[in-house]
């Protein structure tokens, strides 16, 4: 058995490892892993386990008692949680496709340009990410302001609106405003990824197709699109995760209001855990959020696979 095990190892690695050498590799390997494993287990894995554990407790400033699934039952019945869930899904369903399509469009326009312009545009679209969520948020708050905001002024001058709108204070517009800002901060990374994916598309295939008289659209769908599929998949997953986690915008702009119209799961977790000190309840929500994200990511993998096949 041991021999067979070593044989497969050898077949994989190319050279056979004697038992002494395997031991040496084990010791060296784990010693090199030690610092990162320590931090990873201590500050990621352990808290994750603790989060799951706490979700079964009524855990507040004064109380820590086992309640089984009571937190989860309360969640299902909680109307604000339902609103938060719906809003979060709306944010994801709007921002993910728009981010993907927009960044693919930008990337396909800029990747063929001279290097200097490609990197100029890449930088410009990455700027809102680097600027930081807080700085971006406070400037948008000013631009959206009902009295001194530039948006109201511009829209009024263009004749689009007749009087100033309190964008963030109105349940009709607030979520849309949040999504707009979120979009500006989420296209940077996908554009970088798409530019690099598009420049790696096999050029000879594209040329062959063009010689055969394929239109630009055909070249795109039949040749480029399948080749950038892995990138698209990755972008879908990271954008989904980011949209689910949208927090700073909500906390600094609307605090979930007006009338819970911008309440999201992430903000509601924060509100329960850190404002109301309901740690157990917040943990249960965190577990649900993690599960939802896992399901979404798995679905995207499935969809993309079947698309490709």
């Amino acid at each position: 058995m041991k021999g067979a095990f070593l044989m497969t190892k050898a077949a994989k690695g190319g050279t056979a490892l004697s038992r002494a050498n395997q031991r040496r590799e084990n010791i060296a390997g784990y010693l090199f892993m030690l610092p990162s494993l320590l931090f990873f287990v201590g500050f990621v894995i352990f808290p994750m386990g603790l989060c799951l554990f706490n979700s079964f407790f009524n855990y507040t400033m004064t109380d820590f008692s086992f309640v089984g699934l009571a937190n989860y039952k309360e969640l299902i019945a909680d109307p604000i949680f339902r609103t938060a869930l719906v809003n979060t899904i709306v944010i994801v369903l709007v921002s993910v496709p728009v981010t993907c399509v927009f960044s693919l469009w930008v990337a396909s326009v800029i990747y063929k340009m001279h290097d200097r312009y490609t990197s100029l545009f890449r930088c410009i679209f990455y700027l809102p990410v680097v600027t930081g969520s807080v700085a971006v948020t406070v400037v948008w708050k000013w631009m959206f302001s009902p009295y001194t905001g530039i948006l109201n002024y511009v829209f009024r001058s263009l004749g689009l609106i007749s009087k100033n709108i309190n964008w963030l204070g109105s349940p009709d517009y607030a979520l849309g405003c949040i999504i707009l800002i979120l979009l500006t901060t989420s296209v940077g990374q996908p554009i970088v990824l798409y530019v690099s994916a598009l420049s790696n598309v096999d050029h000879s295939l594209v040329e062959a197709a063009e010689v055969d008289g394929a239109t630009n659209l055909q070249v795109f769908w039949k040749i480029k699109w399948p080749q950038i599929m892995p990138t698209t998949l990755y972008i879908l997953v990271i954008t989904t995760i980011n949209s689910f986690q949208c927090f700073a915008l909500i906390q600094l702009l609307t605090s979930g209001g007006p009338n819970n119209s911008t309440q999201t799961i992430m903000y509601y977790i924060y509100y329960n855990a850190f404002k109301l000190s309901r740690y157990g309840y917040g943990s249960a929500m965190g577990v649900i959020l993690a599960a939802i994200i896992a399901v979404f990511s798995a679905m995207q993998f499935k969809l993309a696979k079947s698309d490709n096949g």
Partner: protein
């Protein structure tokens, strides 16, 4: 408008293959392509506008800030906002931020380059399992673990210290993942040759591996620095007392305390974003490489 003029020559490069070989098939620049570039320039200008508004806003006096008709450019620039800003402990906010970012960067680079090398090149038992746990953990929302993390930091007596932000940042698995991608490129023969020549593990790592993964470390360093600078949520949870606030928290505090003094808030936003933008522009190449390498396998 000068943007337009600068961008004009790109039309000629439009279909030129990157390889640079003289391509004789001359492609016609279609109306569609021109429209695309025009639309792109407009969108790009809109993307830079918030930053423009932060910078110009920080030099506007109260009248210009509160004008009903927006002042597009501060004709009477004033340093008043910055004077007010530095009456607050803005220097300390900056110092704290730089300290947190630098420490997180240092520890992440050391731990991740060692771990990534081991995952890529050491055939130790359990390697595949550890790697898949790292990858799965990356897909989980890290904010979810903040509640137990806060308790953990309180238990370790680190809550309300800068280390409460630094340590979890180092633990995040992306760095190890990225450095594994870079370490894959080290030729195994080279490592074996070193071993046959009698070099120990440590020497192999410092003298052969390290020089080869330097570009990767550069990418990770800049990536960690920028992300830590902007990791508002973690800072918000871990740091409350005035002496440990970061610049992001400082700006948020300004906004909640004097929500209509936009000039002052913009000065804070400028202080919080300009340094990191400059760093980004300086190391842009490394950064782009980090993003693309980190995505190879997803």
């Amino acid at each position: 408008m000068s943007e337009n003029i600068k961008a004009a020559p790109q039309v000629h490069h439009f279909k030129k293959p990157k390889s640079g070989n003289q391509d004789h098939s001359v492609h016609q620049v279609t109306v569609y392509q021109v429209l695309c570039v025009a639309a792109l320039i407009i969108v790009a200008l809109l993307f830079t506008f918030p930053l423009y508004w932060i910078i110009t806003g920080s030099f506007k006096g109260p009248q210009a800030v509160n004008a009903r008709v927006p002042v597009w450019f501060p004709t009477e620039p004033t340093l008043l906002n910055y004077e007010k800003l530095f009456e607050k402990p803005a220097f300390m906010w900056m110092f704290n931020t730089v300290f947190v970012c630098a420490m997180a960067m240092l520890f992440t680079c050391v731990a991740a380059s060692m771990g990534g090398y081991a995952l890529a090149k050491k055939r130790f038992t359990g390697r595949a399992l550890i790697f898949s746990i790292f990858v799965c953990a990356m897909a989980l929302p890290k904010q979810v673990i903040l509640i137990p993390l806060l308790k953990e930091m309180a238990f370790l007596n680190l809550h309300n210290t800068l280390w409460a932000v630094i340590l979890p940042t180092v633990g995040w698995p992306f760095g190890v993942f990225l450095m594994k991608q870079f370490s894959e490129n080290i030729p195994t023969e080279l490592l074996e040759a070193a071993r046959i020549d009698g070099a120990g593990e440590v020497r192999t790592f410092t003298q052969i591996v390290f020089p080869m993964i330097k570009p990767g470390i550069g990418a990770l360093a800049i990536f960690t620095f920028i992300n830590t600078w902007n990791d508002y949520f973690l800072q918000l949870i871990m740091l409350n007392s005035t002496e440990v606030l970061t610049i992001s928290l400082g700006i948020a505090k300004l906004q909640s305390e004097m929500s209509t003094d936009y000039g002052l808030i913009m000065a804070g936003a400028a202080l919080g974003s300009i340094p990191i933008i400059v760093i980004f522009l300086m190391f842009q190449k490394f950064f782009t490489r980090g993003i693309t390498m980190g995505a190879v396998k997803g």
